[in-house]
């Protein structure tokens, strides 16, 4: 009896631990910390992933510029600290490339009413917009468009999906 109880407790503990572990994994991956500074390679055609003025880095998976989605907490629109380096990298790019244009697409998860979610999605777009402008980007380079819950990237009704849908996408319309 005692053993059975202890076993049950163990199984439960394991389940709880597994649940916790999963939650950590489910968080959208934070951006990688900037690599330690090292002497720049001498080859001329190699791209420095930390050169946020270089358009080639928009497609370079090693560069923060290739990351263009900012994720949010439920019913919140503040940009969390782990996503700020991404926004700052894009601010640097937009400053250096005055002809570049972005649309900040604000999105929400499916919970709650659609029109309210349009408002919430716009807030998320605006939050990124404010950071970009604080980083010196002229407002003419930026447009905010809210899609609310109308354009989910994931269709299941659970938190795994919802946290991927609560986002602002930085979409370049001109590089």
């Amino acid at each position: 009896m005692k053993t059975a109880l202890r076993f049950t407790a163990l199984v439960m503990l394991a389940a709880i631990l597994a649940a916790c572990a999963r939650e950590v994994v489910e968080e959208p991956a934070p951006p990688e910390p900037p690599p330690p500074s090292e002497p720049a390679p001498v080859e001329t055609d190699r791209v420095n992933p930390r050169d946020y003025t270089d358009a080639r880095n928009l497609d370079n998976p090693d560069s923060l510029l290739s990351q263009r989605v900012i994720y949010f907490e439920f019913d919140r629109s503040n940009v969390r600290s782990q996503f700020r380096p991404i926004v700052e990298a894009h601010a640097e790019y937009l400053r250096a490339n005055p002809s570049a244009r972005v649309i900040l697409e604000g999105h929400t998860d499916e919970r709650g009413s659609r029109e309210y979610n349009l408002g919430l999605g716009e807030r998320r777009g605006n939050a990124v917009d404010e950071l970009l402008r604080a980083g010196g980007v002229p407002s003419r380079q930026i447009e905010v468009v809210s899609y609310g819950e109308e354009r989910p990237v994931c269709r299941d009704s659970n938190e795994d999906c919802w946290q991927r849908n609560r986002r602002t996408e930085i979409v370049y319309t001109a590089r």
């Binding site: 019913d75 709650g112 659609r114 029109e115 309210y116 349009l118």
Partner: protein, 429 residues
Amino acid sequence: MAVLLVALLLPALASAQLRIEIVDGVEGAMPIAVAPFAWDSDMPEPATSVSEIISANLHRSGLFDPMDEAQMIDRPTRPPEVGFGTWRLLKVDHLVIGRVTDAPDGVGYEIEYHLLDVHTGRILLSQALPVGPGDLRFGAHRVTDAVYERLIGVPGAFATRIAYVVVTDQDGDDELFELVVADADGHNPQTIVRNTQPILSPSWSPDGRKLAYVSFATGRSNVIVQDLYTGQNRNVSSDRGINGAPAFSPDGRKLAVSLSRGGSPDIWVIDLENDRREQLTQHWTIATEPAWAPESGRIFFTSDRAGRPQIYSMRSDGSDVQRETREGRYNARPSFGLDDRHLAVVWSDGDNDFRIAIHDRETDRLRVLSDGRLDESPSFAPNGSMVLYATRQNGRGVLAAVSADGRVRQRLVLSEGDVREPAWSPIIR
């Protein structure tokens, strides 16, 4: 592939039809019989007869228990032919009889019908209703409206239409959004507009002729007003930011909308005759989903000015703002029926379960009517009897309807795709 094939086979404007299932009816629904109507016309009789449509309507309301035609021993079509004793033995309270003839002027038909009280033998209602050549179904709905009103005491809402949005997956990541208008029983679905960009928030004009809706066809939100008879559409708002949540004023001349051109969504009213705009709210929070109260003309709306979304109301000039809902953490998307007293809303007490509720403004009590997890977009029937809303079933969007007292439940299912954003039309004369 299967989806694509179906899409190709469909005629350009017709759309798949909603199937309405009764989930819950009223215990002790009224026994009634609709005897087959006589067909006295040179035109061929349609496959579904007028009496079958009336019977199905009454059944769908959940308040009636119509007798099967096969069980009817007697099939009178005129009052003198009715042997009341027989109907009493069959335990029927009321009887509907009638005939369809060619209209006296030769255009269309005339439906002559009678509603009889089986116990007293009295005729409760007699009418000859002229209907246009293609309008027999609609005529049957109007007969049902009259029968319903005579027996229940409130006008029926059978001769009405519903608008909704259907979303189907296309090849690749693409989706197709269609705004569809159908009869209230799901028949005659017509696609009003289709696009690969989102369509939402359809709203009827009070005469039932026009729909206002939000379209992302340009990649940004725009408010469109479309005439259902001419097909003509007009972009009435394409400002910077959100253009959303259209709602016609009770006189049909104005459109309340939510615009974020000032930095955050506020309620504005657009005069549809001269395009003049008036800003009614000015607050840094979200104000959206305006709804005009049918009696007072006050405008109700959703705002999170107190932290979480709640319903507020104001005069139609923006003055005298009052908070309306307090029960629960989330109240949004107000919808009115017949009166100012009952307000259907999306309600939640937490972050995960969103349900349809009716807020009674006189008692300040809230009654939760649905039990889904993601119920939204409530739309009152114009007679206040039922609330139509969007819910999910097996991961798919479906529509559902619940009576205002919670006793009758229906599900409206489409064979393919996601159905959402229902809007019940006003009563169409």
